[in-house]
């Protein structure tokens, strides 16, 4: 994200202007995710987009494919003590610890508010500390018309006694998948951790247990130590690494999982440009989430969508659907 790349942020007409521009290129950006069509595959990732309100102040977020809202748990959570954020080469560490108002408030306050500025099915990101809690939260969100997909986070590295523990073994991942599938008719995407030896085995276990898709990767478990304090920078000690630094790891894992499963993959991890989106789709992603980049450039998702047709033209691509898993063929 160098300064030369700032240029597109000078366009402030998102609605008609953006649509006109997309029409001009005659490119097909649309993809279908578990039977629900997306105008484009670009999805802000959970935890970097709140419940959308902060970004809706900046641009018309209806231009997004959808977005994955802040990880929601059954009970409200304050999260970890601060500092929760640290810098890394080409990336960042976070240990927010699933701060959220709890599913009831999300349903009674955030979803109605979201209706005013986002008019597409939204992806509900869910986390939990027990299988029962995952199921209860998903059952409540299942009733919400606005929710298109459930993205079940079994990979948060920043909370103890939950999160990543479920994503670290094929058996536990399958158990959460089955519990969630039993309470919802909405498509379920299991969000997987990269902090495992064989992510493909876990993806397969989710598929066998009935998952409609998988999302990967969550952040990589990491640490920074301050030289002045001689202590870990984050109050939590460890945190999750994200940003461009993890992009090649994410591409590799999406590629491996694509070979192992037949269900759609949402690819993420360090994506910050239209070129990254295309690379991720070639690896096997049907849709692509953008995370840490939103925090540095709040307009990045809109700018990626705006630039995608031009970059598609550059690489001789007419339809994004056609390139999904393209790196595996021939």
């Amino acid at each position: 994200m160098v300064i030369d790349e700032v240029d597109t942020c000078f366009f402030y007409d998102d609605g008609p202007g953006l649509r006109e521009e997309l029409k001009y290129w005659r490119k097909d950006l649309g993809v279908t995710l578990s039977g629900i069509p997306l105008d484009n595959p670009v999805i802000p990732a959970s935890g970097t987009f709140g419940y959308g309100a902060e970004f809706a102040e900046l641009y018309d977020i209806d231009c997004l494919g959808t977005f994955s809202f802040k990880g929601t748990t059954l009970e409200p959570r304050f999260g970890n003590p601060t500092p929760r954020i640290a810098e890394a080469p080409q990336g960042m560490l976070n240990a927010v610890g699933l701060q959220n108002p709890g599913v009831e408030k999300v349903i009674s306050e955030e979803l109605p508010r979201m209706k005013e500025f986002f008019h597409k099915p939204v992806m509900a990101n869910v986390s939990g500390f027990s299988i029962d809690e995952y199921a209860q939260t998903c059952a409540l969100l299942d009733k919400e018309e606005q929710v298109g997909w459930l993205e079940v986070n079994i990979s948060c590295p920043n909370v103890h006694g939950g999160g990543m523990a479920f994503g670290s073994s094929p058996e536990a991942a399958a158990e959460v998948t089955r519990a969630v599938k039993a309470v919802t008719k909405k498509p379920v995407f299991m969000k997987l951790s990269p902090n495992v030896t064989d992510i493909a085995a876990i993806a397969r276990a989710c598929e066998d247990a009935g998952a409609d898709g998988v999302s990967l990767i969550n952040t990589l478990l990491a640490m920074r130590i301050g030289l002045k304090t001689k202590k870990p920078v984050l109050a939590n000690g460890t945190g999750g690494l994200s940003g461009p630094a993890v992009f090649p790891v994410a591409v590799r894992m999406v590629y491996q999982v694509y070979e192992a499963v037949g269900i759609p993959i949402i690819g993420m991890g360090g994506v910050s440009s239209p070129e990254d989106v295309i690379e991720m789709m070639l690896a096997g992603a049907t849709a692509v989430e953008v995370g840490a980049a939103n925090l540095v450039d709040p307009f990045v998702c809109r700018n990626i969508i705006r630039k995608l047709p031009e970059v598609m033209e550059q690489y001789g691509i007419d339809s994004l659907t056609d390139i999904i898993g393209g790196a595996h063929h021939g």
Binding site: T48, G50, P244
Partner: protein, 244 residues
């Protein structure tokens, strides 16, 4: 909030680790003193939040005064006039001048002094009588005292080592009578001021941030009025809501 490229008009060393940068660009996103901008230093992923010291619509100029505390701010200090800086402008909830009484203490400590300059100007514009109390460790670290004085307001400087002004901390220089206070500085100073002050007041806090505009929940703190994001709901909070 906007994101834009701002042109560096000047970037000048003031004293110690303190630098003053003047930027040319849109000023309208700044609506209150105590707000901040989030700047992208070359070679660093996250932006650096820096409070706005002064802004002027006529010249389209924003002044920031920042302390070099790490590699990001060090990179910023090496930037030169004429270069462009990628900025998110107009962030945070600043000082609400309408809450301030006629005689409002404007208290800054060290790197917390800069936003108080813009606040003092706004208070004057609103017809109030601010009194500046600026705390430094030593005279070598002192900056902007003349600028406050040039506003024509009573300006008290304290130094811990008694090298200039009143000996001690800003709390050693609180006048007997005043209507309100606003403060920015290190956490121990904020707590000491809050404890010592006889009136209500506003305090500006610092925290490591991810985004700076309320999306990532990286800087949340607990208050008596609920969880608040320092970047979006703050950095300025009311004395009454703070849990120390």
């Amino acid at each position: 909030m906007i994101r834009d490229l701002y042109h560096i008009h000047s970037n000048k060393w003031l004293t110690g680790d303190i630098w003053e940068m003047r930027l040319i660009g849109d000023v309208y996103p700044i609506t209150a003193p105590g707000q901040f901008i989030n700047v992208k230093a070359d070679g660093h992923f996250l932006r650096r939040p820096i409070s706005v010291c002064d802004w002027d619509e006529e010249t389209a100029m924003i002044t920031i005064v920042y302390k070099v505390v790490g590699k990001g701010t060090e990179a910023l200090s090496r930037m030169q006039s004429g270069q462009a800086l990628d900025v998110l402008c107009g962030l945070g909830n600043g000082f609400d001048v309408s809450k301030c009484g006629k005689k409002t203490l404007v208290i800054g400590g060290g790197a917390g002094v800069p936003p108080m300059y813009g606040l003092a100007k706004e208070l004057l514009r609103a017809g109030k009588t601010p009194v500046a109390i600026l705390g430094f460790n030593t005279i070598e670290e002192m900056f902007y005292a003349d600028d406050f004085q040039a506003l024509g307001i009573e300006t008290i400087v304290t130094t811990v080592d008694d090298s200039f002004g009143v000996k001690g901390f800003v709390t050693d220089a609180l006048p007997e009578e005043y209507d309100y206070f606003c403060a920015c500085g290190p956490l121990p100073m904020l707590k000491a001021v809050s404890d010592a002050a006889s009136t209500s007041g506003l305090l500006s806090f610092e925290e490591r941030m991810g985004c700076g505009f309320g999306a990532c929940m990286g800087c949340t703190c607990k208050t008596k009025y609920g969880d608040k994001r320092i970047c979006k709901d703050g950095p300025v909070l009311e004395k009454e809501e703070i849990i120390w």
